[in-house]
Assembly symmetry: none
Homo-oligomer: 228 residues x 2
DNA sequence: AACCTGTCTTAACGCAGGCTGAACGAGCGC
DNA sequence: GCGCTCGTTCAGCCTGCGTTAAGACAGGTT
């Protein structure tokens, strides 16, 4: 996930960036308005953290110009408590969520996660497809009501697949999102993990929830269920 | 879809080519200017990825010569962030889109798809002709609402035909766009694939959506439907 | 009709890609 | 140190699918 952090207070920005990197995200950062505008326009950003109190080009103006240029990534606005009126203007200008300073870093991370999830088409934090239910908070999985204990990697794999339910997910795409480094080409780790995952999800192997598209990748069958 | 990748940095080129092949495209590649010029002039290319920072013949010069020679395929320009002024020159020289390094591979793939689609006269990413609906994103096909699972080559074949709906597509044209190597004259692969495709699209074989024009090629009947 | 040529169809083949059981080994708690 | 868990590797089997091959069929020409 590629995140753009726009915040002029250097220490705060550094802290946010550090936390996000620690959680394995790719981060672009700037404290200057025009550069922010440029980065948001030209880079494949997934989500933005935007402080409104910027020198030079204001945060609101940047946001408006992004939206005018058709950039649709979700934006999380940061604003000082004393100027909370700004948040209203922000939402009107096309922001998706806001946070009032001071805040806990965890809060930023959680909101960003929710924003990206919503942008991917999910509204709740519980991903549900067919009989499978993935709760992204406590990272638990149930199938037809029955809790299924998964290992760390099995969970990561399933979460990614379910998040992109209905789409074809290639093996390299999976590898790139599960592992930081360059994917090892001649390894069948994913296949092994997948076999174990499939077995745990559906021990009888009657109806395989994860279908294989030979040469192209995998796809979880069934439509997303948003209400529950 | 046959794609020409012109990029002198070997690792980057290899990565792009690998990703494109994985998604089922036929790819020609080179890191040298004159060879690029030749390939673009002589091969049935659908779309080009062109890095401007080439040694020898510059990317801009290649592009100008292609356009001067009447080659109309869409071109996606790659340029370093520090030299973004180039992109303007590129667009003036006849490029159709540009991407600033660094970028996500997914971004390249998405832009190429959009370029080819637009060049063929489609505005939406869902190609619809009669009862057939081809979704170029997830690469799924539905006929009269019913999902039809296709193999990789069956899909490629159908996508190309539907992309050029209403036009006559010759057998050699098909072969050249689906396969990288020289088309094997005495082989009936296409015919076999076509038979299987026709059966899957219309099991009863009542009204054949793909008509045969003896000695000239094939044509999917029915008008394009642009609105959903 | 007879013939030719281009297309369709069915059956079979071979192999790369995917699946899986078993074993290995690093990391961690006890 | 010992045992347990879990991620990874290895080897072998299986299968889907692209391809080949061969014969049937259809249009066009004489």
């Amino acid at each position: 996930m590629r995140i753009l952090v726009v915040e002029d207070e250097a220490p705060l920005r550094a802290q946010i960036v550090r936390e996000l990197r620690e959680r394995g995200h790719a981060v672009d950062e700037t404290g200057e308005g025009h550069e922010a505008l440029y980065l948001g326009n030209e880079y494949p950003i997934d989500v933005v953290v935007l402080d409104l109190g910027l020198p030079g080009l204001s945060g609101l103006e940047i946001l408006r110009r992004w939206r005018a240029a058709g950039r649709a990534f979700p934006v999380l606005i940061l604003t000082a408590r004393s100027r909370w009126q700004e948040k209203v203007d922000g939402l009107e200008a096309g922001a998706d969520d806001y946070l009032v300073k001071p805040f806990h870093i965890e809060e930023v991370v959680a909101r960003l996660r929710a924003l990206v999830r919503r942008a991917a088409g999910w509204s709740r934090s519980v991903l549900q497809v067919g009989e499978i239910e993935v709760d992204t908070g406590p990272q638990t999985v149930t199938v037809a009501g029955r809790q299924v204990p998964l290992t760390a990697y099995e969970y990561k794999l399933l979460e990614y697949l379910v998040l992109h339910a209905g789409e074809v997910v290639s093996k390299t795409e999976l590898a790139e999102h599960l592992y930081e480094e360059e994917a090892d080409r001649d390894s069948n780790v994913l296949e092994v993990l997948l076999t174990r995952l499939r077995r745990k999800l559906d021990p009888d192997r009657t109806l395989d929830p994860i279908e294989t598209l030979r040469g192209r990748g995998y796809r979880v069958r069934g439509d997303r269920q948003e209400d529950g």
